[in-house]
């Protein structure tokens, strides 16, 4: 266990390198459903973060007593409880927002992100590490929600967080706040992140390759010629 990533590494990992949405494709349902505007996206991110952190803390605290076959049961019970608390809380203090989010708050229960963090990290690590991990993952999740919501709200309504950022003459792209817009934006952003990763990997590989190519260039040509001649017969 001491070999695993440290608390700070786990924290950073969650934000970009192992971003739950862009890298692990977890918890896609709220990412698509509540990102028509920034405000519900932020609320959803906060609710998810609350559940994720609380559940991670509890699971980490009781990790010594977990029986393998009851593990998932305990996870689900914990998560469902915190989701209920979050849901009631929103209904009590952010009533309008809870109406906008609708069934997607309770759906946090089946968000694979949370159960996978409980399983992979919290049930094996100390509270400190588990919290760092949960916060990192929450930030990563928030980042994803915010990025998608930004695109959708700006293009779809010309506003950001309700503030007008594009001129009044901007023709709102209604599709962006509709379901197809969610799929398209997430698909394109996902491709963008992927492209960025590939570009970086290629650049790193290029440095190595340029050395080896200068060494192998000649022999490679010879091999090709040999191959060609062997087919002539």
């Amino acid at each position: 266990m001491p070999d695993g990533p440290t608390a700070s590494e786990r924290f950073l990992n969650g934000i970009l390198p192992e971003n739950p949405v862009y890298r692990q494709l977890l918890g896609m349902c709220p990412v698509l459903a509540v990102t028509a505007a920034m405000l519900p996206a932020l609320t959803m991110a906060a609710a998810t973060a609350f559940v994720l952190i609380s559940a991670n803390v509890i699971i980490s605290l009781i990790r010594g007593q977990l029986r393998p076959h009851l593990r998932i049961l305990v996870f689900t019970l914990t998560i469902a409880t915190f989701v209920t608390i979050a849901d009631r809380f929103l209904a009590a203090y952010l009533y309008e927002m809870s109406k906008v989010l609708g069934p997607y708050v309770p759906l946090i229960i089946v968000n694979c992100l949370i159960i996978s963090r409980c399983e992979i990290c919290a049930s094996k690590q100390t509270v400190r590490v588990a919290v760092a991990d949960a916060v990192g993952m929450s930030l990563g999740f928030t980042l994803a929600l915010v990025s998608i919501a930004t695109v959708r709200e700006v293009l779809g309504s010309g506003t950001w967080l309700g503030l007008r950022v594009l001129p009044e003459a901007w023709p709102n792209w209604g599709i962006m706040v509709l379901p197809p817009g969610a799929f398209l934006v997430l698909g394109l952003l996902l491709a963008g992140v992927e492209w960025w990763g590939q570009w970086r990997a290629e650049r790193a590989a290029l440095a190595v390759a340029s050395v080896s190519r200068s060494l192998q260039g000649q022999s490679g040509g010879a091999a090709r010629e040999e191959e060609a001649s062997s087919w002539k017969a």
Partner: protein, 212 residues
């Protein structure tokens, strides 16, 4: 002997789950106790805030929530509104039904005699942004005022006559859905409401006192 051992075995395995279940149950009960009144208040406030708009002259504070059996005998919520002097001056019916994208939730204002529509308000909707969601606009809602409540309202594209409203351009479905929800709700509740009124006036007492 074996039974008790079995039970002990189960307990050894499940004590954590039971403990957690207990703790969580307690926490949820606490949350429910603390927040439930607030949530109920939120819901109430949402409705009550709009009541002066729906029934002209109605006093928010004097509105009463009632449960009345509808035409088919199912319980339904209605609001009985009173003016500042406490005189019964109208009804507000919550109603909902399918719209273009999802269910639309409405509040319908009627005068005390249930003869006229006095207003309409959209509580919940997920209609197409920039198109169907204009059903929330005051211009669209104002169209419903003053129509008779005993015949259905319909949506037309242009030149509205009696009992007709003009649809939002490009959002025919949203507009006609609203009409449909209103028609259904009134048809469902008119009879029972008239009956309860008759009963109340027959009893001669203040309906408000009775229902409470």
């Amino acid at each position: 002997m074996t039974n008790s051992r079995k039970i002990r075995g189960y307990l050894q395995q499940a004590w954590l789950v039971l403990l957690l279940a207990g703790a969580y149950g307690g926490a949820l009960a606490g949350v429910q106790m603390t927040l439930a009144p607030r949530i109920a208040e939120n819901r109430r406030r949402e409705t009550y805030q709009t009541i002066p708009q729906l029934v002209p002259g109605a006093d928010r504070e004097r509105t009463v929530e009632l449960w009345i059996s509808d035409r088919e005998g199912n319980p339904a919520r209605v609001y009985r509104t009173h003016d500042a002097e406490g005189r019964h001056n109208g009804w507000v019916l919550p109603a909902s039904g399918p719209g273009f994208a999802d269910d639309i939730g409405l509040l319908i204002g009627l005068d005390a005699s249930l003869k006229k529509l006095t207003g309409m308000y959209v509580l919940d909707q997920r209609e197409t942004p920039g198109l169907g969601d204009y059903i929330r606009d005051a211009d669209f809602r104002r169209q419903f005022q003053g129509h008779a409540a005993d015949t259905p309202i319909e949506a037309v594209k242009s030149d509205p006559q009696e009992q007709q409203i003009v649809v939002l351009s490009g959002a025919t479905v949203s507009s006609s859905s609203v009409c449909r929800i209103i028609n259904t709700a009134i048809a469902r509740m008119r009879g029972p409401l008239l009956q309860s009124q008759a009963a109340a006036s027959a009893a001669g007492g203040d309906a408000r006192e009775q229902e409470l």
